[in-house]
Symmetry: C2
Subunit: 523 residues, 2 copies
């Protein structure tokens, strides 16, 4: 196929930087303009205060509709790259400038909250640390820029559809019961469809339990497993791994056994080597948390075989797999579970499914909603145990939230939101790669999917130096050693969420981070 | 003051029953008409199919605006007492008749939900019972009439204000963090004001922790107490008492010691007689759950003194005290705590407060919202421990729910709703008293406040016989022995929620219950 790239001036002067548009690029022209402009601004080819080509001029040069250019400029303005001024030339915006735009307000603007709402609790953060919890009831200054993992972007959220979903939910009759134990039927059906569409896993609405996010799902199932066993369950967890899940499991009465993580995620050899086989295995096969490894299909099948043989339940934490940047998505453990080429064995295999698939709307929408789900295998004893836990303590998920999100799912709003957000994240991921991919003595991992990256550093001294410098600039990141299952035994590195901040703030922070790493002790 | 009562015919004929209106009655005329008509219908003075006086005639007789009579009739129609027919006389409705009215749809109509949402989980129910949990994932027929306690009425909910609150919440910016650990600042401020207004207890927004209802509050504080002690806390609980609270506390790692309940609630002599003093005391002083006793002020002060002396934390579960039918409300333990006539001792007393006041919006609005709160004493160690638990597992209360309820609180919608609902409940309470107050061999207790009553029966055989008969009629009630802390050791009786059903359904069920009790074994 012939490559037809055109270049056009995008600055306000004829000697300005050039914009390359590829007619064979499958991306819409608007998106190509946006991306090219972003790159020009982020690389400094266009600087704050520079005039950009008028929409009329650029549309003429591109031979495209002026409305496309207007759309692109509006999007860029919404993201804070340019300033649109009525009747005056469009300028490249000051960094950290206007944040009062409407639909396109930057994440930073949205993130700004009254001081009293500070002391942000982050989902995937190490917990129980004294400096985080001291004075937690009072106000505490939030970081200027929060790059800790777990924060998505909502700038692409269709605000009209969002309001419509809540209007719809508020118009429904108000029941006087607790929310249904396993969730509102409409939401369970919508989640089953979402899982089928987003993860290619065919499940039934009856298999769904609605939860208040991943933590609550893990706690609920951990508690139910203990009840079913009549003893403290032994749960294998990834090391490093999600600290909150470990804490919640321990609260639920589980004993934990850490399993080391390799390049491709959970190390099955270590799992097999346990003296006593685990009753449950908590695993993040699609994007190991936090290191980002991906469990190959063969290893997935081995893990399932191991679980079947030992009777273990597999808790598949599928926390961010809607966002895959490199390579095709891999089948969930849940969909591999019970699949067999042997027709005679198929029914038995289905009945012996061992995987609980755990998902959440924290990453694809916002953790502020506290909504997640678990897809249960056909394990009646487990389901009955979950029902008992839910009867002792009602489902914490308000019915009205369930109705509103069911509406967002069934109307396709969430699907479109994920698609739009995925493009933003892919772009931010590129910024991370460009800024940190080539630093000597470091290793940048975990970027194939999701919303965060890990920068391995040569030693803990380097981590201290880098985080001190970021902290002084008001930039928060997480330390890799905080994810270690055994205190004082963590790997040196930092974990960086790149989703929940605007491109320009991110580029700014990455430049600072790059400088800090280059200046840090070599190990 | 002179008493000026007037009587008017309210039937369609001049020889119909008379309606007494008292001009000095402080209640609005509309309310007096409604109440008089209800009584006439419920006592059988007006029967299904009877014509009632036209609004024109009745307004003329009363010398009141016709619009008042129209309002009264519309309310009665909404409650299912009468049928308004365009251009035709208004008739007394068939029992269980129309339920499709708009604003005034009966609770029964609202309660009707798709079959798949059945298996209603009720908050204040005994748990873990096999027959409740079997097949819990599938559909299970709901009772025709649910008189188990814990179900409020939402027929008086101002639907426009409700929708407006959600519209308001959905228009707010969407944060990309977890909800704040202790709650959205706006809601914490609104709850502090609500507690001051509804319970006369002055607290600070900083003292509030927002929770997913009472269960979550009890679990959160139980867990935090264990962390603070570094050991399993011993928690004294009322017997009989709230089963879910016991289960949640046990899950939170507490050891429980049941304390018997007397006519006035928790028996302090039994509390004082414990070999090892409890680390915490869970008590329902305003309306003992389920028996309804009220702890006198002297006993409240003694309880606080005991707690101070032993270092115990008092968990004051104030679950339904917004609804007081007989006598003035009593001060909360929380407001008595730290109060002293001695000015020198005041500061120290405040600093040594021991009471956590726990409230919820389940009774004043609906448990479907899963929203409650705890008001914390000035106990920094406890607050820090709660912060740690909330960091391990984020607050389960969606931010948007917090914003919507803050709006309902600050706009006075909830206050008006409580006032309107209180009148309905007072009326339903009278129906219960009239139907069950004089049954030989039984004792009707717990009716001074709240949303439920207890009918003590002569023996468990009588309970079996009565519940069998109700069950056959599709009417669900709770057994008193299900609230016992020790299995197989409960008192004979039934617990009856009278709030969440329409007057006529309630009257119908009460008649059946009365007949069942009269026919039951004498002991």
């Amino acid at each position: 196929m012939q490559h037809c790239a055109y270049q056009f001036t995008i600055g306000g002067h004829m000697d300005g930087p050039l914009l390359a548009i590829d007619r064979l690029d499958e991306r819409p022209v608007v998106e190509q303009i946006v991306e090219a402009m972003r790159d020009a601004i982020l690389t400094g080819a266009l600087r704050p205060g520079d005039r950009v080509a008028s929409t009329r001029v650029l549309a003429a040069e591109l031979g495209t509709a002026r409305s496309s250019v207007v759309s692109a400029y509006e999007q860029l303005a919404g993201e804070g790259y340019v300033e649109l001024r009525q009747g005056a030339p469009t300028l490249v915006a000051q960094l950290g400038g206007r944040t009062d735009a409407g639909h396109g307000a930057t994440d930073a603007a949205r993130r700004r909250r009254p001081a009293a709402s500070a002391a942000p609790a982050i989902e995937r953060s190490p917990a129980g640390r004294a400096e985080r919890t001291a004075g937690a009831l009072g106000a505490r200054p939030a970081p200027r820029l929060d790059l800790r993992p777990g924060r998505p972007s909502v700038t692409r959220l269709d605000e009209r559809a969002w309001r419509s979903a809540w209007r719809h939910a508020a118009a429904a009759e108000v029941p006087v019961d607790d929310p249904p134990r396993f969730g509102e039927p409409r939401l369970r059906a919508a989640i089953a469809e979402h899982v089928r569409h987003a993860r290619g896993f065919a499940c039934d609405p009856d298999d769904i339990v609605v939860t208040a996010g991943t933590s609550e799902a893990v706690g609920l199932i951990g508690t139910a497993l203990g009840d079913r066993l009549g003893a403290r369950p032994l749960v294998a967890v990834e090391d490093p791994g999600y600290p909150n899940a470990r804490q919640v499991l321990a609260r639920a009465g589980a004993d934990l056994v850490p399993i080391p993580v390799g390049e491709h995620g959970l190390r099955l050899d270590a799992l097999r080597g346990l003296d006593r086989p685990a009753d449950a295995i908590l695993v993040t096969p699609s994007h190991q948390y936090p290191l980002g490894g991906r469990l190959p299909v063969a290893a997935r099948l081995d893990l399932l075989e191991h679980a079947r043989r030992t009777g273990a339940v597999v808790l598949e934490d599928d926390y961010d797999s809607e966002f895959r940047h490199v390579g095709p998505p891999m089948p969930t453990l849940a969909s591999l579970d019970g699949s067999t080429a042997d027709a005679d064995a198929a029914v038995e295999a289905r009945e012996n499914r061992r995987v609980v698939l755990i998902g959440s709307f924290s990453k694809v929408m916002t953790p502020w909603l506290r909504l997640g789900y678990a897809v249960l295998p056909h394990d009646e004893a487990l389901r009955a145990a979950i029902a008992v836990v839910r009867e002792e303590s009602p489902s914490p998920v308000p019915g009205i939230v369930q109705l509103a999100v069911a509406h967002l799912l069934t109307t396709g709003v969430l699907r479109r939101h994920i698609a739009a957000t995925r493009r933003d994240y892919a772009h931010r991921r590129k910024l991370v790669l460009a800024a940190l991919g080539d630093l000597p003595g470091t290793q940048l991992v975990g970027l194939d999917g999701g919303l965060h990256a890990v920068l391995r550093l040569p030693g803990h001294d380097a981590v201290d130096a880098v985080t001190r410098r970021l902290d002084a600039a008001g930039i928060a990141v997480a330390r890799l050693d905080e994810y270690s299952a055994s205190a004082g035994d963590g790997q040196p590195g930092i974990v960086l969420g790149y989703a929940g901040v605007g491109d320009r703030e991110l580029a700014d922070a990455l430049a600072l981070l790059r400088a800090a790493v280059l200046a840090a002790p070599a190990g």
